[in-house]
């Protein structure tokens, strides 16, 4: 094994990991506020990718410049996903907020399957080719090869995550989100409309998921109705690994997962790549049950 190979895999891992991180943020934000695994988040990502793909193609077909088409499509996808995310919360989760914990989890799984079927009806079952708008021609930097597409993905993810952190830490709405996550009752006493904050959380998480979906689709050059499943699973794993409910945890978890997967490829055949996530997860949870950055949850007396 040469150091160049290692470096190359680290770069690849960062690109994939930043996408995981974006998706993981959606899981962790919802979990932080509702203690619910939003199983359908992976499907939101898929819907984001497919709707962006269709909008892009439609706009290019009517003569819009590809770059502009892509930007418009991403915005459209974010809006669509935000609407879907907020609707899911309203219809399938909110009525069960005080139900036994398994109940909303089951509806979440139901929603996930439902969205897949809807995607089949709307978009079809095919593997769609995502147009190559940002060049994927290899760029040589020293011994490492990257593409412009990958660079854009990395920059966009970093920008979005910074933006989210800023929003959550420095704005009134962000402070209200943290307050609600910590104590819904007291937040209500402050005049914060909990339901509104939860809806905003879903909207933001889903919007980020939409962008992540486009990133995955553009990186692999394709999108299909089932793409959200494994991606969602891994992103959730990343969120748990980092310490669910914690934004930094989701980002760190996502990056680590991306790195582990890609660096691991040096040692083990690619077929097993999907196993790494879970093996690492189990290892982390055994030694740090609260996750890498998560806080210890005290046992109630």
């Amino acid at each position: 094994m040469s150091i160049d190979v290692l470096l190359q895999q680290i770069v690849n891992g960062l690109v994939v990991g930043s996408v995981y991180a974006l998706v993981a943020l959606g899981y962790t934000m919802v979990y932080g506020i509702l203690q619910l695994i939003n199983f359908a988040h992976g499907e939101i990502v898929m819907i984001g990718a497919l709707s962006a793909l269709f909008v892009t193609n439609a706009l290019i077909a009517v003569g819009v410049p590809p770059a502009l088409a892509l930007v418009v499509a991403i915005l459209a996808a974010m809006i669509i996903c935000a609407i879907v995310g907020v609707s899911i919360e309203r219809i399938a989760y909110r009525p069960l907020r005080n139900a036994p914990r398994l109940a909303p989890l089951i509806t979440a799984i139901g929603v996930s399957i439902f969205l897949q079927q809807v995607a089949i009806l709307v978009f079809g079952r095919n593997y769609f080719t995502f147009p190559e708008i940002i060049s994927k021609a290899p760029i040589q930097i020293g011994a490492i090869t990257v593409t412009m597409n990958e660079i854009v993905i990395l920059i966009t993810s970093v920008a979005l995550m910074t933006g989210l952190l800023w929003l959550v830490n420095n704005t009134k709405i962000g402070t209200a989100m943290r307050a609600t996550a910590e104590n819904q009752k007291v937040a209500g006493l402050m005049g914060i409309d909990i339901n509104k904050i939860i809806a905003i959380t879903f909207a933001i998480g889903s919007g980020l998921g939409a962008v992540a979906g486009v990133m995955v689709a553009s990186n692999y050059g394709q999108a299909h109705y089932y793409m959200g499943f494994m991606l969602g699973l891994k992103a959730f794993t990343a969120a748990v690994m980092g310490g669910i409910g914690n934004l930094w945890g989701a980002m760190v978890g996502g990056l680590i997962l991306g790195l582990v997967e890609n660096v691991g490829l040096i040692f083990v055949r690619g077929d097993y790549k999907d196993i790494f996530a879970f093996v690492v997860l189990v290892a982390v949870l055994i030694f740090r049950p609260q996750g890498l950055i998560g806080e210890k949850v005290a046992e109630r007396a």
């Binding site: 009134k172 402070t175 209200a176 943290r178 307050a179 910590e182 104590n183 009752k185 007291v186 937040a187 209500g188 006493l189 402050m190 005049g191 914060i192 409309d193 909990i194």
Partner: protein
Amino acid sequence: MSAVLDIKKLEVAYGGIKAIKGIDFHVNDGELVTLIGANGAGKSSTLRALSGLITPVGGKVTYKGQDITGVPSHALVGLGIALCPEGRGVFARLNVHENLLMGAFARKDKAQILAEVDEIYTMIPRLKERTKQMAGTLSGGEQQMLAIGRAMLAQPKLLMLDEPSMGLAPMMVEKIFEIIRLIAKRGTTILLIEQNAQLALEHANRGYVLESGEITLQGDAKVLLADPRVKAAYLGG
């Protein structure tokens, strides 16, 4: 004097347990009224029902002539009612400044809010020293001060305090009551729920004694202070 807050036949139950068995009391404009009683007498249940955290099973709560029975807590803030909850309820992972700002969540007058935050800092200098500190790292007394300051930022006409002395050392309790007196002096109407009867009655205009979900004694605070039946209500004499 008109009653700001008027409670009639209030009943609260938890899954069949009657915690409050139909009580009547009122708070007049500008008054500091205290509701005292031993642990488990139903003080907090009463306050929870008043602040919309639980829905009473019977009775009526009127605020400035308006029926507010069962109005959710976040809507009460807009009416000018603030609650400083039992156990303080500061946001442990928010810093002191952010906690205070959350108290003013429903307001839009940013400049005025910041001015009032400064006012709170003047009134409670200890908070100013810790403005960037996470509330969870404050001592119990400091958290209580923060909770009161936060409630004040909602510009309440009526401030409801739930056991502000709970779990605090005597010195700290004194300080908290000093702050409460300052707030009362500024003209804010206060409903104070307290276990520490002595201190509460010393500071209040009027008092009610709650015992097993019923009001058994009421009247002028100074008179109650001397009434031996108050002691009996606590120690089962």
